[in-house]
């Protein structure tokens, strides 16, 4: 998606990047294409929605489920986040 990190390029490339910004900034003023605008907005609204996890307790062992459109997945009651990390909820009494 992107190229180098901002702190990994030589000074000359950085100065060229600033010059590029000054050039494109004169002609493009922050008006997005409609499809990009609504696409990004839908993603941001989606990210802001709370993620619902249901833990069923009226079974011999708690059962964790998530809605079908959730970015989370559940494997053996372990909740897998969309970046691959796992969330384990331990119940203590």
């Amino acid at each position: 998606m992107f190229e180098e990190a901002i702190d990994k390029i030589p000074d000359r490339d950085w100065e060229e990047a600033i010059a590029a910004h000054l050039a494109w900034g004169e002609t493009w003023h922050g008006d997005l294409p409609a499809d990009v605008f609504f696409g990004v907005w839908a993603s941001l609204v989606g990210q802001a929605k709370p993620l619902v996890i249901t833990v069923q307790l009226d079974t011999p062992e708690p059962v964790v489920t998530v809605p079908p459109d959730s970015p989370l997945t559940v494997e053996d009651n372990r909740i897998v986040l969309d970046d691959g990390r796992e969330l384990v909820i331990q119940f203590a009494s």
Partner: protein, 276 residues
């Protein structure tokens, strides 16, 4: 002295890449790139630079070195000129070209300390957002006044009023005038805080179109006819009025000229009430 930059823990390599890419080619970003870049510049609001004098948050540096010296005179320039766009762009460029130099003179961006480039990029981004946001706002407010629309707007010459949560009121509804990019930066994932937003989008042929995106309540007051449309088809429906659902938010998107005509018609037939 080597300056340290303190970054929030969530600021990852991909955000470092996004910030550089925005400086180089923000005008070409696609949907996914904007998503990351918007988050990156949001996170940088929590960054700080550690100097001999203490810890300076990035927003403080921006305020001292960009906003305080340039914002008021920039707004006044826009208000005084009949050529808002061309004069505004020229003034944006003059200030933008000074930012790197002035931060360096202030000792905040020493040579050979690449981490401090984040501070330069942060100031360039928010100056760009400020300048182009107000160029658009002054254009729209002037056009509404010239069109005979009755509205109240915040006083742009007052720093305190500029940061008011909404820009104007029409028919008793509160609204904002936003470049589409900075609408996303401001509203993010919130359900529309205001009743309407005057936005400018581009179409596939790169021509620009002004739209008013509003809650159904405002549209009901001035008209009510819409075509239920998928977001992906919206560009084909305009200038007809569309009703689209974005995640859980349903909004009406109308052509700006049509919206003005309907508002004028309503204002000529009714005494304004309050629908905040």
């Amino acid at each position: 002295m080597v300056l340290r930059i303190l970054l929030p823990a969530e600021f990852q390599d991909v955000h470092r890449q996004a910030v550089l890419a925005w400086v180089r080619r923000g005008h070409e970003f696609n949907h996914e790139e904007w998503q990351v870049a918007i988050r990156a510049f949001d996170l940088l609001k929590e960054a700080s630079v550690v100097t001999r004098q203490g810890i300076l948050p990035f927003p403080v540096v921006y305020h001292r070195h960009v906003d305080e010296p340039y914002a008021d005179s920039f707004i006044q320039t826009l208000l005084d000129t009949p050529e808002i766009e061309s004069v505004g762009v020229q003034t944006w460029a003059e200030v933008a070209s000074k930012i790197f130099i002035e931060l360096r003179q202030a000792g905040l961006v020493p040579p050979h300390q690449p981490a401090t480039r984040l501070l330069v990029a942060y100031c360039l981004y928010w100056w760009y957002a400020f300048a182009y946001g107000y160029i658009f706002e002054v254009q729209v407010l002037r056009d509404l006044a010239q069109s005979g629309i009755q509205f109240t707007a915040h006083d742009l010459t007052s720093r305190q009023e500029r940061v008011s949560p909404w820009d104007l009121e029409v028919l008793g509804f509160r609204g904002d005038v936003k470049r589409s990019l900075f609408f996303l930066q401001t509203v993010r994932g919130q359900h529309l805080p205001h009743a309407f937003y005057i936005l400018r989008l581009t179409q596939k042929n790169r021509s620009r179109t002004l739209v008013v995106m509003m809650r159904q309540a405002m549209w009901d007051v001035i008209d009510g006819e819409t075509i239920l449309t998928a977001v992906s088809d919206l560009v084909n429906v305009l200038p007809d009025t569309a009703r689209v659902r974005v995640a859980d938010v349903e909004v009406v998107v109308a052509d700006y000229t049509l919206w003005k005509r309907l508002v004028l018609q309503h204002q000529s037939e009714h005494v304004e009430g309050t629908h905040v």
